[in-house]
Structures are given as structure tokens and as C-alpha cells.
Symmetry: C2
Subunit: 365 residues, 2 copies
Amino acid sequence: MKFIDLQDVEYIALGAALLGTGGGGDPHLGKLMAIQAIKQNGPVQLFDPDEVPDDAVIVPTAMMGAPTVLIEKLANGEEVLRAFNGIKKYAGKDIYATLPIEAGGVNSMIPISVAARTGIPLLDCDGMGRAFPELQMTSFHLWDVSATPMIIADEKGNTVIMESINNFWTETLARNICVTMGGSVMLSIYQMPGKVLKEACIRNTLSLSAKIGESILTARKKGKNPIKNLLEVTGGFELFKGKVIDVLRRTEGGFVRGEAQIEGIEDYRGKNLKVQFQNENLIAIRDEKIIASVPDLICIVNLDSAIPVTTEAIRYGHRVLVLSIPCDPKWRTPRGIETVGPRYFGYDVDYIPVEKLISEGGNHQ
Amino acid sequence: MKFIDLQDVEYIALGAALLGTGGGGDPHLGKLMAIQAIKQNGPVQLFDPDEVPDDAVIVPTAMMGAPTVLIEKLANGEEVLRAFNGIKKYAGKDIYATLPIEAGGVNSMIPISVAARTGIPLLDCDGMGRAFPELQMTSFHLWDVSATPMIIADEKGNTVIMESINNFWTETLARNICVTMGGSVMLSIYQMPGKVLKEACIRNTLSLSAKIGESILTARKKGKNPIKNLLEVTGGFELFKGKVIDVLRRTEGGFVRGEAQIEGIEDYRGKNLKVQFQNENLIAIRDEKIIASVPDLICIVNLDSAIPVTTEAIRYGHRVLVLSIPCDPKWRTPRGIETVGPRYFGYDVDYIPVEKLISEGGNHQ
């Protein structure tokens, strides 16, 4: 895939929503933005990170906010251009390419829209290989890339340029600004030279998303079982099948936090599974044992269609499959675990890779 | 006064604290910053606004935050230079001079410190002729000067540049950023050309402050009654003499809000006065009748020394005089009243000038 066309957008939005592990935005909203931009400006060039010159500057573009807000408060498309053009002006440098900061139904699409509207290439990589709720939770952060100077732009026309002393302060300040601006905003963040990107990024996020999306959408046509197909394509593990019997969800401090309770069906009859989330799914607990946790991906999909279910959309009665996909090896390093492991999110347990948890039948909390 | 020396600083800090009507910061803390800067760099040149070329750019510098926080969380002096130098760089223009955004024990002193450290002149004017709690409450705002681009800098090293769509959004965003940064921050704000300044500013704030401060500090030496002297110098009216019997005060949303209850003594025995404040004193109610309100100045001073008492320092047992000074005519226009009149602060009454209220014995709420 050297160009992203309208069909690719469909696939990527869906596949990235799966990698978004419940967060990263609704794929339907995301793809509307990208489709409009491509219809107006033509297909987007997709470059491999290795095609970026070492001294060229790249900047990821993204939407920030609680998923529950994103689905109510839509972007008008101008604010992300303001964020992108602003960083170009502020840094006094040409921007060679853009890329997603994370995988997700909206956050895979924003940079496609920016690339289409500005004529620059999109890079086949991101900073998470999934979605995480906070701005410092990127592989760029593990490589000591500063998130700032960053630009935050809202749909009303307000713009903030931030220079912070570290990426935790960036998160704290930007989260509050985001809430004050109405709960969802557009960002340009983590500008860096090509040389750093090549080491620090997580590769193939968009091509993997396209492959996943295609597998979901075309399995039936090819006479395949969509779930089996999905597990093959992602290298994921089945954790549970069941019916959602309760969802607790509240939007606070710029995040949606909560828990979904799932009652087992088929092979899982008599068992239960809890998935707790902060924008993204953080931990899966089966019959009181942790069966998967961050940074491994915990994905919830419709049991029949394999379409991903996001944390703002999951509700009583959904029949779902819960699967887990091993995270990128960058997250399994000591610094990776410190940044996005279960302890960072308040769980008093060590991280155990999902493949080990499954073979051992889970870990007592 | 063509130069501000250490003696002038003492006078200005005290006089500006009176004009600060309870807010604008503690004069003792304020003068420490200015004294240190003048000791290191020499006296500061004081210019009249008319000495600024029409096309020269000026920028007020200030501290923002709840007075209860300002007295606990001191500035290190570098953050305001970061705010000042940042705006110079961002605007790509030389800054000709600085000035206070408001009168106040700290906010009269910040620009003195900036002027001393950068070698630029200070201007004998401000944007309020008193202090007000919110950023859009300036005479500059009445002249449609944009508060942005503005810079917010904290003592940790974080910097935010803001471009907002109007001065109310500036206030909303900056207030939240201020709270997130710890409750007090330094600003450069309302940059404008000399031509606009000359029309929009409130003049003689610093020379009037110096005159007031001198009258307070030297009355006794000259064998004068400090209170009588103060009323003469300010053109103010005595509203009440009494003993503070209760103070309600809470710090919330970046403001200190509350009420002081004062029981009458001397001529006011058997009467009572309530002063309600949001950083600054907003309204004075004597025996259930409004006797003075914003935008007129309501000042509380020690009954013996005439030293101003700020809203974060006032407490049970203080024997005080409450006086009111008519505000600058700019505030008595329809737009002025709309911006800072009693209705803006939630009081369901029309503004009546203090001299009229006094002659009529007050206005029923």
C-alpha cells in the first residue's frame, strides 16, 4: 500500500479501532473526516519511516479527549490544520510528514486528513501500536522525545502553544486545557527529526490496521469465521465469550472510566469476566484472576461480526468476544512497564505477559 | 518622579495595595521583588504614556492567582522574565516599555522588577486604576484590545502561549491553567501599540500610588491623622469604622471568595457592615443597604495606621476603617458597568456611584 484510498480508509479505521482497545475514538466518525479530505484532495501517500531523511522534521497530529465527548462534539476539520500549521510556524521548520500518535478509530484518521489537506506524506507507524489514555504514554517518551512544543486547538478558534518541562506536565496541563475547551481538542505534538523517529516509533501500525480491518470486513465473503480470522491476523488470544450484563461508566477529569461485566456463554458458561477501562481497556479479570493487563491489548468485539466495541459504546446485552494481543516489545522493557504497566494505573500487581497468564490460567489479584 | 528608587517602591507598594481594594497581592511580598531588582540593576525610569511612540509596542506584566495562594507560593523572579521575553520572541517585536495591568501590592511591583531587569521604562498607568479579579476586566478590554497573544509562565519552567478568540476565553483558559500550574503564575498580556495605550490606559496609577503610600507612611511624622490624610489624598469617602467579627473565606476555582462582617464602633456603634469579595472587595452593605459597589473602590485599612488590609489577611479582631473611592470615569460608561458592575458579579442591582449612595444613605438590595 503506497497510497491510502477510500477503501483503505474503511479498513484502517476499523482495524485501528481494534488496536485502540476500546479507546482512540469511534471509527465511523474518524473515517468521515478522512474520506472527506481524500475526496477533496486525492489519495494520501504512505511512507515507511525509513523513507524520512534523518534531519527532516515530522509531527504527529491527533485528537485528545474522553471518547464519550468525542462522539458528541465533532471536529470541524479546521482546528487540526491550525494545530499543524501553528507548529510549523512556531518551530520555524517545514514538516516533512505526519503520523498517528496512537491507533484508534479517530486517531488513525486525523493524520490521514491532515496529510490529504496539506499534501505531505503519512508515515506507516505510530507512538503506541495501540491506544493509551495519557500523552506521555508513547514509545517516543521512552526515547526521551519531548511532547512539546505542542499546539492545542479547539473548534471555537482558541489556540494554546505549550512548552513544558517534561511529558507528565504536558499531560497534566493539556488535559486541563482540553477539559476547559470543552472536552475534545486537536493536537500537534512530539515533533522530532527522522533519525529519532526511526528508532522510537512503533512500525506498520497503519498497514496492520488495514490488514485487520480487511480481515473483519471480508471474512464472511471468503466463507471464513470472522473471529478465527481475526485471531490469526492479529496473533491474538481468545480470553472470553459472553454477554455484557452491566456497565459502569463516568466521564471525569477528561477521561471516561469504568468497568464492563460480562457473563460467560458457550465454553465460558458459569464464568464471568470484568474489563476495567480508562478511555482504553486496562485489565481483564476472569473469575477473580487477572487474565490480561496493560500494556498488552485487551479488545472487545462483536461475537458475530468481529466489529470492535469501544468503551463509550459498550452496553447491556452486547454479545462479545474478548481477546488479547501481545503488545509491542518496546512496552515490555522496564521503562515501558513503568510507563504503562498495571502499577501506573493503580493495580498492585506485576505485569505478566498475556501469553504467560493464559498458559498459567491467570494471576490472583 | 522620573525614576523609581527604593523609597518610591515602599510608597508605591503600599499605595497600590490600597487601590487594590483587598486584592492585587501583599505589598510586603511585592516590594521584596522590586527592591531586589532595583538593588541589582539600579532605579527604573518612569515614563508618561504620552512619551511612548505611537507605533512602539508595550506589554503589561503581572502575576495571576488567588491572593491566598500568592502569599504561600512565591515567585522566583525568572518566570516573569520568561513571560516577558517569550512575548518579545513570539511577537517578533521589541517591547518598548512595560506597565502594571492593575494596582495592587504585588501587581504594581512585578513590572518594576521587569523594567529593572531588562532596562526598559515603566509606564505611569495601568489597565484598571484599581484591581479586579478577572483578566477581561481592563480598560484595554473596553477599547477592544485583545489580551492575547499572552504568555503564562510558572516557577517550575512550564510556559504556555495563548491565542484566544476573545478576552473571556482568555480568562477561562488562563484561570484553569493557573490553577493547574499551582494557583499562581506570571503573565505577559495585552500587548498593544503606544497609540492605543494612550487612549485605553488609566493614567497616573503609579504616581498616585506613591502619593497614597507616602501619605500613609508619613502622616504621623507630620503630626497628621493618617485616616484624614488618606481621605484627602484619595478623594475617598468614609463608609464605616468597626471591628471585624467574622470572616468567611474559601479558595476555589483560582479565586478567594468570601465576606467580612464588621461591627460598628465610635460613630457607627450599633451598626454593622458586610464586605463581600472575590479576590477584591466587591460590595459594602451597611445595615442591609448597599453603600458602595464595584466598580467604585472599597478599601479596608487599619484604623490607627491606615495601612491597607488585604482579603487574604483580614481576620477577627482587626479594627478597621472602610472607605470608598470613586472609580475612573472609564468604568462608569455603559460598557464599563457591563464589564465590572454589580450585575456581572451576580448582584441583582443597578450600579449607583458611591457619592450618590452616600448622600442618599444607601440603596436597598
